[in-house]
Symmetry: C2
Subunit: 372 residues, 2 copies
């Protein structure tokens, strides 16, 4: 069987790593467009650090800070228009998955004309603006993936652009930007990363390398879960060292899904986010336990291997941990289950599954996941 | 602390992966120079597969098959001259570490004029011919590193060119080319890969990612050692599945040293190869046990972690395995020890060591490693 490994992004991690490595940005061009959301990157210091870095090496920049949660197609076309209008040579995207994914789509759309009808075709010219990405949550791993996931109102779900063109040139990981995240965002993003790593091991595209990386990511995140569970009672649930470990773990999990893609959990999570506005990481967490139960039934050896990496003795024990992290679950109606199952079963991600659920399996998983 | 991960080579693994992915080579140019040794790539079928792949997509090629074991500086200048003379757009290097390292240096020297006095300076223009590498041993990992290690007669040792320019664009891993390797080469190259992975964990540049990869590589190689020990008694010690695992392991170990560099073991091994013509992998194997004894003394926690990954209870047990793999050891005189220790202690690799041996430590290690 043919297997592949490819992840060309240069990852640089550490305190003040953007400012300390600002000279790298000169290799990307002379004019930057900073892509970010309206608020958080201003509050956590990341946008300011990027501006200091750019100014110290004489690179001009403009700021596009209109990226909302779960960015839309219109949003990235607007950003691309600004990139072209300001003659940006490269993109620096700062934030969680939303600004990073938007930044990657903007980099593509600023370099070539792609109509909306072809946006998700995967057929592009070999042109893209180079990118530097600065994650400010420890979840998405988008800084090291070839994906940009956008809200697609026409298809009423999230749809991904997947192309090697979307690998950023640089990823700068400084955990201090994640220190101001609240407990709920910390948990939801950590669960997203954990889900990436676990789904990587459940993918038909898993390789020796991706499994080694996934295992390390899972171990790092599982070690932080007890403190996250206790976090509800204290003000700052995790110290900077743990934040660093989570940021590494999410980046490593990103390297995993760059090889493997995601699976049924993400496929089923997208409708929960699109129709019920449930946070993306939380949606994965709600569904992860029941999918692992299905895997346990169909592929017990694979399940045992993952449980061993997680250092839990059985799937129920992991589900209990998830319950404590997630708290009370949202409700779902039988009409919603019917509608979401039909959608999820048609998602591309389903093709990555070693254990491919039937539409009935999916209905059962939605039911059990959302009615405690 | 700042840490980095960078390994931009696209790795493709599997039976007939070159022929099945020949269209990728069209992205590298229209004229290739095949760089290889005189014999083995003709015997194991790799050179023929590369020619079939190139012919099937209409790419012209010339062959430079003059690369000897431990290639010299003169050899790579001669190859570069041929690359320029034949207007090669890219390099395909086929073989063990020698042709691959030579191919990488040729790619650099064909793209820019670098005098011998600046060859190891690390200061180059941003120009190199793109490369595709085809390993035919499971040892060096050169297909995924930024290093080219050449025999430097002026310095009377092996010296490395280190530059991100030297990362190949593609690495094609097909284990069938390693099936014809004899037992001794199989063992020596596997020990080289094992040493890379272990030294990666012993490097001050080790990171979470490099350690996860190193651990996987160590596990894969250790699993094959019992069959290699028994191999002396049977004709073909390893089946194709094991060959594939070793080839993966050596590639993963290459990804590790791409991040961490090598340490005291390689530094001490180079004089054994240069002056005593001891195979590179074997030289590492001869020294590895004693260096791990020093690590055990100075950094017991690090030692314990590595022993656990190797699944052996103590360093002596691992040394015994190495003894059985290596057989009778070469002798070394006290003058040689004196001379090699002075050289090894000045090697750049020493700066990578968590446990940096003194010159006296080095003398002791040479003595104990080479007088059973």
């Amino acid at each position: 069987m043919l297997s592949k490994f490819y992840m060309p992004t240069k990852v640089i991690m550490g305190e003040d790593c953007i400012i300390k490595n600002c000279e790298l940005l000169t290799t990307l061009g002379r004019k930057a467009l900073i892509v970010t959301g309206a608020k958080s990157s201003k509050m956590n210091g990341s946008e300011n650090d990027v501006k200091i870095a750019l100014e110290s090496i004489g690179i001009q920049y403009e700021v596009f800070d209109k990226v909302m949660s779960n960015p839309t197609i219109d949003c990235v076309y607007e950003g691309a228009s600004m990139a072209k209008g300001t003659s940006a040579d490269f993109i620096i995207a700062i934030g969680g998955g939303s600004p990073m994914d938007a930044g990657k789509a903007i980099a593509l759309l600023a370099a070539q004309d792609i109509g909306q009808e072809n946006l998700f075709s995967g057929q592009y010219e070999n042109k893209v603006l180079p990118m530097a990405l600065v994650p400010t949550t420890a979840g998405t791993g988008s800084e090291v993936t070839p994906y940009s996931i956008l809200t697609n109102h026409k298809a009423q779900t999230k749809t991904s652009i997947a192309s090697d063109l979307l690998f950023p040139t640089f990823a700068f990981l400084d955990a201090k930007y994640t220190e101001s995240l609240g407990l709920m965002t910390t948990i939801n993003t950590a669960i997203d990363a954990l889900s990436h790593a676990i789904e990587g091991m459940l993918s038909v595209k898993a390789t020796t390398v991706s499994d080694a990386l996934a295992s390390e990511s899972i171990r790092l995140i599982m070690n932080c879960i007890p403190d996250m569970i206790q976090g509800a009672e204290i003000k700052n649930p995790l110290d900077l060292k743990q934040r660093e470990l989570l940021l590494q773990a999410s980046c490593i999990a990103g390297m995993v899904i760059a090889q493997t893609g995601t699976t049924a959990v993400h496929a089923m999570g997208y409708p929960l986010t699109y129709f019920k506005d449930i946070d993306h990481g939380r949606a994965n967490g709600l569904l992860l336990g029941e999918y692992l139960k299905l895997v346990e039934k169909e592929e017990p050896n694979l399940s045992t291997r993952i449980l061993k990496v997680m250092n839990v003795s059985e799937t129920e024990e992991f589900k209990e941990l998830l319950n404590r992290l997630l708290g009370p679950r949202e409700e779902i109606s039988s009409e919603e289950i019917f509608q979401y199952s039909a959608r999820a079963s048609k998602t591309k991600n389903m093709n990555n599954c070693v254990v491919k659920p039937t539409e009935d399996d999916i209905k059962t998983m939605y039911t059990k996941s959302l009615t405690n």
